[in-house]
């Protein structure tokens, strides 16, 4: 059986050996050939010397989720040979550095072995040890390209783009590519039955990771103050903001920064700075992951109750505690939704693609300013740190930032009995003022203690209740402000619906096709935000059973749905994967078979 544009390649490397760029060169080349591709970096929580994998799925049909089963394994890491060989599908290929001979006990007769003396080749062709190391990676890309019929022009083009400015690096790289290709040409039949053929399937899409997209979105959204504390997998989000800002936010006259980024001493400080900056009228955000979210708990309660805008990007990883820092999960949902002690409800966003990371990150500042409350964007390691194919970014140049209900000097001058926490418009959203606006009007005392409509401290029961109930009204208002869900076919062709969000989307969309092919199509809806709006409620209302697909142990999104929409839990069936690896379509299809509705 031959398989064109439909297979999975996994690279097995040692981390800290510069394999990453070679591997993404490989993925990018397929993308350039117009063939849909998705790549997952499966790396250890360690800097150097441990096994790391890079998994590339090529899919003519455009499925970008993970797929179990390896068709081709390229391994240059003897540490993991045994495990690597074991996970190749029967009929698949194991391609390895044959400089050292493979132990016989590793051999399998149901798969094909292709040995390439990578080290030997590099030792022969390159002088300095660092080069030998680095180019080994390029050599195997060349070999693989030859085997899979990937265009060398494309590869060379990519290299010349990559080393724009350092042209002299291009030559040895191209040489390394050729070395790999030639070795295959001389010693093996090629291409294999697994191969890549050019297509025009990726259109104007782009290839980027969600963190870079979100960082860029923050630049476009007008963020000018960023405070953060390093933590995987959110670090690259802030780095991306800084990188783009350095390019796009420099004051032409002075060359100074129209932004500032501060690495804080911890996450409590990071969120505190972001809150202080937003309080003072700048757009500010911070980014973190699980442990940081836990540490931000107290401050999130303050921002909720004192009604201070702030944006937080939580790039989720596997918890609890330090957990698996380099594995993905969607398990901070409850902690985020009800962050902090006392009665609180936080606004959450759930992007699924880099474009949504960009759009929602930009949008989050308008939401925060309008709603005067924290906006928590929940992405995850898979979306944040892996490159995904995505529709291109767009910006409407006529778009104005919505700074929300902020009174300027004249407005204050004319305002009668303004009060910081008065519900003037009956939408639960009060009017705020920025320090320094007016000499005698509009000053008030922001506090996390109980306060009346004029921000004055009060222990009066009725006052307290009034403010707390207005906050609920504001949360109602949020429903119509947050991004609406995406409705897939909604023909009620079936009594069953799928509900998903974030990165489960990739697997879920593929699963929908499989189910359709199997003759039982399902309706589906993708949640983009919390609080849930009417559409979500209706969708569940209109189906007898709804499968909620998520990547955590305790079905946290389902809890939110049940709790906030007053739905019978038995109506919402759990489909879960929480092993730290991105979910696959097969997992969903299989679990739908198993998890059968009980009568309510």
């Amino acid at each position: 059986m031959s398989s064109i544009n439909d297979f999975v390649v996994r690279f097995a490397n040692v981390n800290g050996t510069g394999s990453a760029s070679a591997n993404s060169l490989f993925a990018k080349s397929i993308f350039r050939m117009g063939v849909p591709v998705s790549a997952k970096n499966i790396f250890p929580s360690n800097i150097q010397g441990l096994p790391t994998w890079y998994e590339v799925r090529v899919s003519e049909k455009g499925y970008l989720g993970r797929k179990a089963g390896i068709d081709l394994m390229l391994s240059v890491n003897p540490q993991s040979f045994k495990k690597d060989i074991a996970c190749v599908k029967p009929g698949g290929y194991f391609i390895y550095d044959s400089t050292k001979k493979l132990y016989d006990e590793f051999l399998r007769d149901d798969i094909n072995f292709i040995g390439i003396p990578l080290m030997e080749i590099c030792n022969k062709e390159f002088a300095d040890p660092r080069q030998k190391q680095l180019f080994k990676n390029i050599v195997y890309v060349g070999a693989l390209a030859k085997l899979l019929n990937i265009s060398f022009e494309v590869l060379e083009q990519l290299l010349s783009e990559q080393f724009k400015g350092k042209e002299k690096l291009v030559i040895p790289n191209v040489k390394a590519l050729k070395l790999g290709g030639d070795y295959i040409a001389e010693n093996f039949a090629f291409p294999l039955e697994f191969k890549v053929e050019s297509r025009d399937l990726v259109k104007d899409w782009i290839l980027i990771d969600g963190n870079a997209a979100a960082g860029l979105g923050a630049v476009y959204g007008g963020a000018s103050v960023v405070s953060w504390y390093p933590i995987t997998p959110s670090t690259s989000l802030v780095s991306a903001f800084e990188k783009y800002a350095q390019k796009l936010r420099i004051d032409p006259e002075t060359g100074k920064n129209n932004f500032s980024v501060v690495q804080s001493e911890d996450e409590l400080s990071a969120i505190g700075m972001a809150i202080g900056a937003n309080w003072n009228g700048a757009r500010a955000f911070t980014a973190t992951s699980g442990p940081g979210l836990s540490l931000m708990n107290e401050f999130l309660g303050l921002a909720y109750y004192a009604e201070i805008p702030v944006v937080l990007a939580d790039v989720q990883r596997s918890g609890p505690s330090t957990g698996m820092p380099t594995r993905t999960q969607q398990s901070d949902i409850l902690s985020a939704a009800y962050a902090s002690h006392g009665d609180t409800k936080q606004v959450l966003l759930f992007p699924s693609t880099p474009k949504e990371c960009f759009d929602m990150m930009a949008e989050s500042f308008d939401l925060a300013d309008f709603l005067q409350t924290p906006i928590i964007m929940l992405t995850d390691l898979d979306l944040g740190m892996n490159e995904h194919m995505s529709p291109p970014f767009q910006w409407d140049d006529n778009r104005k930032y919505n700074r929300g209900k902020v009174l300027n000097a004249e407005e204050l001058e004319n305002a009668k009995d303004w009060g910081r926490y008065k519900d003037v418009d009956h939408d639960g959203v009060p009017y705020r003022t920025i320090p320094g606006t007016h000499p005698t009007k509009g000053s008030y005392f922001t506090r996390g203690t109980s306060h009346d409509e004029n921000a004055v401290y009060s222990e009066d029961s009725d006052t307290y209740v009034r403010i707390m109930e207005r906050l609920l009204k504001k949360f109602e208002t949020a429903k119509s402000r947050v991004p609406a869900p995406q409705v897939y076919q909604e023909e009620n062709t079936s009594e069953i619906g799928l509900l998903f969000f974030g990165t489960t989307t990739y697997a879920a969309e593929e699963a929908m096709d499989i189910l359709k092919e199997n003759g039982d199509p399902v309706d589906a809806l993708r949640i983009k935000a919390f609080p849930f709006n009417q559409t979500v409620e209706d969708f569940i209302e209109n189906h007898r059973y709804v499968y909620v697909i998520e990547q955590n142990r305790d079905a946290q999104m389902r809890t939110l749905l049940v709790n906030e929409l007053e739905i019978h839990p038995k109506k919402l069936l759990k489909i879960l994967n929480f092993d730290g690896m991105p979910m696959t379509a097969d997992m969903i299809v299989d679990q739908i078979k198993i998890v059968q509705p009980q009568s309510i």
Binding site: R32, D204, I206, L207, L216, V219, Y220, G222, S224, V225, S227, L248, R249, D251, T254, K256, N257, N258, F259, S260, V262, S264, E265, L268, S269, A270, G272, M273, I275, G276, A277, N278, W279, N280, G281, A282, R283, A284, E298, F299, L302, P392, F393, Q394, W395, D397, K400, Y401, P435, G436, T437, H438, P439, T440, S443, Y444, F445, T446, R447, G448
Partner: protein
């Protein structure tokens, strides 16, 4: 319940160069205990701001949690205030300052707020040389939670219930100096003559200004044996120098004997005039003050006055290379690169 009263009343209420009266710098009625040192400090803040003729609404006053952290409600009613969470005022102040570098940032905290739960933030706001004035109203205890020892309670100090503190007290001034604070002073809530000029100079300093003000808690820590009681502080108070603050406008005419008098020129052209009392100490020489503090500690003296100043420091916004214009005043024009640029970025990602 006590009121913040001006120290003395003129027949005609005086007006500062901006045309404001002292009243324009006052706050709400204090709910602190009658006689609480914190109220005197609030009064000194009012006087300092009035005399310096700061635009009240150009001040942002921030605090943590505690009796001391309540005080921003009791001064500068025309300034925005932010009573944050316990020990975290420094981070909120940092964010606020980054958002608008043009305002005057006045942080007020307590010894529990800054030396216990907030010690990390206290240290790091100093490291960043944030352009703010940071006042700790230091009573050696947790007033608002009814008087437990704080981390600044001195070793051997006796609590109201007679228990002796076995732990070393944290010397916030010594720590601030070690961490690179560029203006460090120590004073006593009861000594307005010294405190007011210190606050004025702090507000005029560019960079991080720290004032540790010993401020007795009359309800829980003013007993005999307490090293933070009015009596003890009066006895052990050792002024490094007497000082005046000389505003920008006033010319320094007469010449002084440099042996007895030292003039420190501030970043904004104003001066601190020090009548030096203590030998071998120079407020611009770090080693001299580090020594003075170590020796004083051994002699159980409390050094007060301006301890250390460095007028050549670079404050956070400049360290970061931020534009001079307040970031909170930037508009779409400066903030949003627009769609054309985005097209280019897309192109680079294909």
């Amino acid at each position: 319940m006590s009121y913040i009263k001006p120290i003395f009343q003129h027949p005609r209420t005086p007006i500062n160069t901006l045309g404001y009266t002292r009243k324009d710098y006052e706050g709400s009625i204090s709910t602190l205990c009658a006689g609480c040192g914190h109220d005197s400090i609030s009064a000194s803040i009012v006087d300092a701001c009035f005399e310096l003729a700061i635009q009240p609404h150009h001040v942002a006053k921030l605090s943590g949690i505690g009796c001391s952290s309540k005080t921003p409600a009791y001064f500068l009613n025309n300034s925005h205030g932010f009573n944050s969470v316990h020990g975290r005022m420094p981070s909120v102040a940092t964010g606020a300052n980054l958002a608008n570098r043009d305002l005057v940032y006045l942080g007020v905290s307590g010894d529990g707020d800054s030396a216990s739960i907030g010690f990390g933030q206290f240290a790091h706001v100093i490291r960043r040389n944030l352009n703010m004035t940071y006042i700790v109203m230091n009573n050696g205890c947790y007033g608002l939670t009814k008087g437990q020892d704080s981390a600044t309670a001195d070793h051997g100090s006796k609590s109201k219930t007679g228990i002796v503190n076995n732990f070393e007290g944290i010397d916030l001034c010594a720590i601030a100096i070690e961490l690179g604070a560029t203006y460090v002073a120590q004073s006593f809530s009861g000594d307005k003559g010294q405190l007011i000029p210190l606050i004025k100079a702090a507000l005029s300093h560019s960079g991080f200004s720290f004032i540790n003000v010993i401020s007795p808690c009359v309800t829980f820590n003013n007993n005999a044996g307490s090293t933070k009681s009015y009596d003890y502080v009066r006895e052990h108070n050792e002024a490094l120098s007497s000082l005046d603050f000389v505003p920008i406008k006033e010319e320094i005419t007469t010449s002084y004997d440099p042996e007895k008098v030292k003039l420190v020129e501030m970043h904004d052209g104003s001066f601190i005039k020090l009548n030096k009392l203590i030998q071998g100490w120079d407020p611009e020489d770090k080693i001299s003050i580090v020594n003075a503090l170590q020796t004083a500690k051994q002699k159980e003296e409390i050094l007060t006055g301006l301890l250390y100043i460095n007028n050549n420091s670079i404050e956070l916004n400049d360290l970061l290379g931020t534009v001079d214009k307040p970031l909170n005043s930037l508009t779409e024009k400066e903030l949003c690169p627009g769609n054309a640029v985005l097209e280019g970025i897309n192109a680079g990602l294909r």
